[in-house]
Subunit: 214 residues, 2 copies
């Protein structure tokens, strides 16, 4: 643990997250991060074993930004609020999404929002086992919806993609895949938040109906 340069794991990771937001994950090199921090590239290696360890720390920092809603509104509303808080943070750092897909929350600060969700369902009488199942399903839901939203999977996002069914001749598409030709144009018109809430309500209704007493 070095001293003189005002460096620390937290300072480095915070600067790295800003850089990821600005120039993307591929743009974040150890050399570039070091330059932004006014140290040599090698200095970073006295704080993190390698680039992987740095990226994990960045991800933990991102999770720590999630602010769980105040408790007391009941499990359904608390989980809804929590899921929207997660969605907000993921959309605040769209270029960091692959990190979230790779590194689960691990530190006490990063797990705070998970703990809030567990408390909400446990307080409502859900068993620990079904609290675990609920977390798993909602984690998959957060990552899956954020992925299709952020990558512009359906043609409306800021992603690097063409609209769906693109690049192929429309006439050939109509011929070969008539149902895709009919339905695909409607995908771009769907509203992100509306679809997020729709699928979320489906999942929450099902879970709570089955596993929460009232």
């Amino acid at each position: 643990m070095p001293k003189r340069t005002g460096m620390s794991e937290a300072v480095i990771a915070a600067r790295a997250l800003v850089l990821v937001d600005e120039i993307g994950l591929d743009g974040l090199s150890m050399r570039r991060l070091a330059t932004a921090l006014d140290v040599s590239a090698m200095t970073l290696y006295s704080y993190f074993a390698d680039r992987e360890a740095l990226l994990d720390a960045v991800t933990q920092l991102l999770y720590a930004e999630i602010v769980p809603p105040a408790p007391g509104a009941g499990p359904r509303e608390e989980l809804r609020g929590l899921m929207h808080a997660v969605r907000r943070v993921l959309h605040a750092h769209p270029r960091a999404l692959p990190l979230v897909s790779h590194y689960p929350p691990r530190t006490v600060e990063a797990l705070a929002f998970v703990n809030a969700g567990f408390r909400a369902v446990l307080d409502a009488g859900v068993s620990p086992l079904h609290a675990a199942r609920c977390y798993r399903a909602l984690a998959a839901y957060s990552i899956g919806t954020a992925t299709v939203e952020i990558s512009g999977y359906f043609g409306q996002g800021p992603g690097p993609h063409e609209p769906p069914g693109p690049g192929v001749d429309p006439v050939a598409l109509q011929e070969a895949l008539p149902e895709v030709a009919l339905v695909a144009p409607l995908l771009a018109g769907l509203d992100d938040v509306e679809e997020f809430d729709y699928g979320l309500d489906l999942t929450l209704d099902g879970f709570l109906r089955r596993h929460a007493p009232d």
Copy 2:
């Protein structure tokens, strides 16, 4: 379009997919792929504009591997079969998952499984708009569940991660996040396929109850 070397977009992309399976996405360099194909690295650039274009083609090839189930079993069973077919292919190429998260199906061959899903729900009387919503939700579900399964988000997969809530002192965890300490150990015991079906049934039941006549 060159000739002499027996090269083609399809041959190159197929070899690239094999290499991704073997050595991962980061290991797949233009130089390494070229060596595996016995051509110079520069030859690849007469078939693909850049690495991005190559990776997109690899992804389309992967989507084309999805074999939709035979039609006629009703929308619920067809969608279930289709989702399992998707899951099988994603798990056959775990290191290619980030590609699936970035490049949507685009070619006629890659969109074949999407068309099969659309036909199943349209035949059941679902409107084109709700077929689009259904696809969006199921695409997010596939990607989200595959991500948490393959990355070992909950500590049982072959991923590069620790179990959840790891790296922190158990006593400190119990102190700071008692609900996490209680529930997290149960996450590793959940069965991938069981949870996949549980959440899938939830979604399918909800959608079909609302939007399919019978």
